[in-house]
Amino acid sequence: MSQTRGVLGDAWLMARKDLLLERRAKIGLGQVVPFAILVLLLFAFALDPDRGVLKQATPGLFWVTVLFSAVLTLQRSFGLEAEDGILEALRLSEISPAGIYLGKVTALTIQLLLLEAVLVIGVAVLYDTKFVGIALLVAIAFTATLGIAAAGSVYGALAARLRSRETLLPLLLLPLLAPVLIAATRGCEVSLQREAVSGWPWAALLGIFALVYLALGSLLFRPLLEDA
């Protein structure tokens, strides 16, 4: 049955399951989004809106918030499965590991993109950001999010079975995502016309990151599920 479905079919199956689960549980909407808005508020408390630092740092603060929210979403996404033994069930099923991985990545990307959409509104309202260079912004948001999901899904699955996953996942994932943070922030700064250079190289770097980790994750998910 799964031979006819293929990897992409499996991926779609997994992604649908995750998204349906999320729609039912509404953890993203009920917990992660408020958390993200809260982080924006915390930054405002810390950085004093009147001194202009907040406005200047907006792209960076936005992406830091996205990173923290992504860690929470990943913990949730893989934590559930590890607890209920679903990872074992998946391993024994006919679904290809690469399909499971890509499905997870797809679901996570969609969830994070939705979160970012809300955050964009938050940032526009709270930090009074004016948006220009939309094409570049969208390209950056998409590639950065894909990269976060791709790399995050590997470590998310690895950390899921460990008791210390709450502390281990950020420690493993965030240094890995450092180039994503750098590239996304600098790219957004360019797109918001804060800098006079081209932002597309940053988007290209993000694209490379995403592709590299998508490929690596697809290859590594079988040993990860079976032996890690």
Partner: protein, 265 residues
């Protein structure tokens, strides 16, 4: 790894009392020679650099340690891939040894870089590309060591670490590129950027001696750490074997005592 000849006592040399062997003793001796030359030339004979002044003496340490670190991490990377392919203990031990040694050398690199910065910039830290990249990579591999330390059966632990090893190494060029582009707009005196390419004579000699010494020491450490890891695995197998043996003795003594009461399946 282990010799399989079990001849009579006369033809087999006594077992080593540690992780050393003739090969490593030779390697160590050669490394010490290069180190001695590096110390003498680096600290005393070579003159202060025309651009860097006496701080080049710190660079004599900084460059070899960063090269050693990269050699160690490269070892981990290759070992991680090989482990996932061949699934032998050899690659797992080599990979984890490389990660540990890489972390050691990277830490030293960062400290040396900070000390160089104190003299050159007046501060211990500047967000210049090499130091920044090193900090990120260091934390990535600290994560590797953290996962390595989690008790698990050897196969599980090895697979986890191999995955982290590959995921981390693939990120190294990406981090380099991102940080270089980012900090490239703010060029100041970078740690390596101002090395005089026409460094000649005794300075070049000191640098190459130190570099060779650094690589030799790294390889020497890798071998010893690998063997120590191997012994640790054998020791824990032993411990496991003993525990099983005790359990077996226990159950055989209790079963002989409870034969009268019959079985309870």
């Amino acid at each position: 790894m282990t010799a399989t000849k079990m001849n009579s006592a006369q033809s087999v040399s006594p077992a080593p009392t540690g992780t050393g062997s003739r090969g490593t003793r030779l390697l160590g001796a050669v490394a010490v020679c290069f180190l001695a030359v590096a110390v003498v030339y680096g600290l005393f004979i070579s003159p202060p650099d025309s651009q860097l002044g006496n701080t080049i003496r710190i660079i004599y340490m900084h460059v070899p340690t960063v090269m050693a670190a990269y050699l160690a991490f490269l070892t981990t990377a290759v070992s991680s891939a090989m482990y996932l392919w061949k699934r032998t203990e050899f690659w797992d031990l080599l990979g984890s040894s490389g990660a540990e040694i890489g972390v050691l050398f990277f830490t030293v690199t960062i400290i040396d870089g900070a000390l160089w910065g104190k003299v050159t910039w007046g501060v211990f830290w500047r967000w210049e590309p090499r130091l920044t990249t090193s900090a990120v990579l260091l934390i990535m591999y600290l994560g590797y060591l953290a996962v390595r330390a989690i008790p698990a059966d050897p196969k599980t632990r090895a697979t986890r670490c191999a995955i982290i090893g590959l995921v981390a190494v693939v990120n190294i060029p990406i981090v380099h590129k991102a940080v270089d582009w980012w900090r490239g707009l703010h060029q100041g005196k970078t740690v390596l950027g101002t090395l005089n390419p026409e460094m000649g004579g005794t300075q070049l000699f000191a640098m190459y001696s130190a570099l060779t010494a650094g690589i030799l020491v790294c390889v020497w450490l890798l071998i010893h750490r690998f063997r120590a890891g191997y012994l640790a695995e054998r020791a824990s197998d032993l411990g496991l074997g003993q525990a099983l043996e005790e359990r077996r003795l226990e159950s055989s003594s209790t079963s002989s005592g409870s034969k009268v009461s019959g079985d309870d399946s």
